[in-house]
Amino acid sequence: MANPATSPRGIAALHVDKLGLLVALLTGWGLGGASFATFRANRIVQGSAVEFWNALPSSLALAAMLGIVAAAAAGALGRSHLLRLASGLAGLIVVLLLIGTAAGYLTSEGDKLARVSPAAGFWLLVIAFALLIIDALSRLSVKPLVRLVILAAFYLVFGLGLAAGLWDDLSLLKEYSTRAASFWAEGRNHLVLAMGSMAAAILAGIPIGLVCYALPATRSAILNILNTIQTIPSMAMFTLLIAPLGWIATNIPGASELGIRGIGTAPAFVALFLYSLLPVVANTVAGLAGVPHNVRDAARGTGMTAWQRLARVDFPLALPTILTGIRIVLVQNIGLVTIAALIGGGGYGVFVFQGLGQMATDLVLLGALPTVLLAVSAAVVLDAVIEAASSPGAQGKAE
């Protein structure tokens, strides 16, 4: 779709497009209309809203406001995508630095109980600058591999900021510091569950996919069953598996020694495995079905056996499609592991549900933000893998 012609109204250099308008609105609302932070005297009392002006020393607040307005204006009025990217990044960094500074400013020296959390104004500013960055990246049509580099740079900068203690006065980091050990342990649980069940689903799903492809009679039955499994709501699936696994643990010798219990990781693992099968199987079938006939004929002509053809021709050509299925599985699993916390399976859901139970917003964030970050990172990493697998170099041998 072609871009519309330049606006007939106004001076070309000052042309404000719809994104610019949106960014201007969000910035104005974030700075003027909504509170920047929430202050609470301790963890459980009702918080009070703090305006941007009062969240920072007044000279800094003035400078910061000018800086944010300048970044938003450059982004809103700028016509080059690189300028938009730069102003989005600059604005985002300023806003992130400010929330850390505000937390330190609002907490009096030595006050260990006070809690400062980001409020609506902060999130609106983050959204405004994130939109500028996303728009610029999508218009520059940044390749997945480059996005991977950007992600790595983000982790580096973010990690350095955390190590330097920029956000130590924020309530979120205070929640973290009281449970740092369990944060990393649950993170490990989260990843092990998500990736372990994915690995099991790949090992089982690709052969099932091959069977579906080779025997069309079985295809619709198997895919229908897997489809129905996907439809079952996650909380129902996780909890329905408690009884069967409990039965296995008590009645099958050796099962409980393997760590199988009615509650905990075992039902979570099985539930995730069942959900993961459909994308793997369906994409294996689709990938194999997409192998061109002439390629297959040529392979047959060179006298390759059926297994050789599968291993050297069909499978490599189907790989990008299969990887797309694996990407769906990993992103989906990282989200679903959260539910495992309800049945004692661990993972970041532990913090989410504890936080919901205690009405402690920052504890909810401590569970939800890493989950979102993991899911987005998994998508970026696997997109890069898919790109590498479907590049002409990777398929040159087969074609």
């Binding site: 994104l19 999508s138 917003t361 989950t371």
Partner: protein, 245 residues
């Protein structure tokens, strides 16, 4: 062989209705799952009411989300909105990597506990597949059809309502089906933020170690989801069949 799935569905639907209308007549069956002499049927709230509230939240969120998502997809495919198209595509792609539970959990700080955060999370998440599918439909319309519509002198609005949208309808419906399935699941989890849904029964069972509760809540939710998914899928196929006939 072909009748079997349809027969199973009717049977499942009848069982579901029977259970919701008179749960106590299933008590002997469920008592096997209960611990000792604990209660067998959830009684704090009638299952019937919970099921209706569950469906109510899901359908309200889906209807609002469909209206807004389709309108947005129409907007970004018109001349005046094309400059937002790349952004909208990327936001939807990124949004779909956000786990629904995280969206639900993040809605709580913004709106408090209860139906509101659940509705908000369902609504936001439901927009993504519907918007994506509508956009795909509107941007992959056969060129000759569009040319023909222009050729007979239809205005832009006429083309939109009598040619483009009807052609996209099966795809839009597929998006709605995906949204409804995700919403039914997320609404169940909504009971952890105090929304009145069938998840309440499951949570009560987990907390009191009463597997009979878990079983009835989970089976009712699962059957509802499967039946609704199948019904929407059948509707979709019926529409495509009419189209291609």
């Amino acid at each position: 062989m072909k009748r079997l799935p349809a027969l199973l569905r009717i049977l499942a639907f009848v069982c579901l209705l029977a259970f919701l209308i008179s749960p106590t007549s299933f008590a002997p069956l469920l008592s096997m799952a209960a611990q000792g002499n604990g209660p067998v049927i959830y009684e704090r709230q009638s299952l019937w009411v919970l099921a209706l509230q569950h469906l109510g939240i899901v359908f309200a969120a889906t209807i609002v989300a469909s209206a807004i998502a389709v309108a947005m997809a129409i907007f970004v495919t018109r001349r005046s909105g094309t400059e937002l198209l790349p952004l909208a595509r990327s936001v939807v792609n990124i949004g779909q990597t956000f786990p629904p539970v995280a969206v639900l959990a993040l809605a709580v700080p913004a709106t408090g506990f209860g139906v509101v955060p659940t509705f908000l999370a369902l609504f936001l998440y439901a927009m993504l597949p519907i918007f994506e599918n509508t956009l795909t439909g509107l941007s992959t319309l056969p060129r000759d059809v569009q040319e023909a519509a222009k050729g007979v002198g239809m205005t832009g609005t006429q083309r939109l309502f009598s040619v483009e949208l009807p052609l996209c309808l099966p795809l839009i419906l597929a998006g709605i089906r995906v949204a409804v399935v995700i919403s039914l699941s997320t609404a169940t989890i909504g009971s952890t933020v105090a929304a009145p849904t069938l998840g309440e029964v499951i949570i009560a069972g987990l907390q009191s170690n009463n597997f009979a509760y878990v079983l009835q809540g989970a089976v009712v939710v699962a059957m509802m989801a499967v039946l609704i998914h199948d019904a929407l899928y059948a509707l979709e196929r019926r529409l495509s069949a009419i189209r291609s006939a």
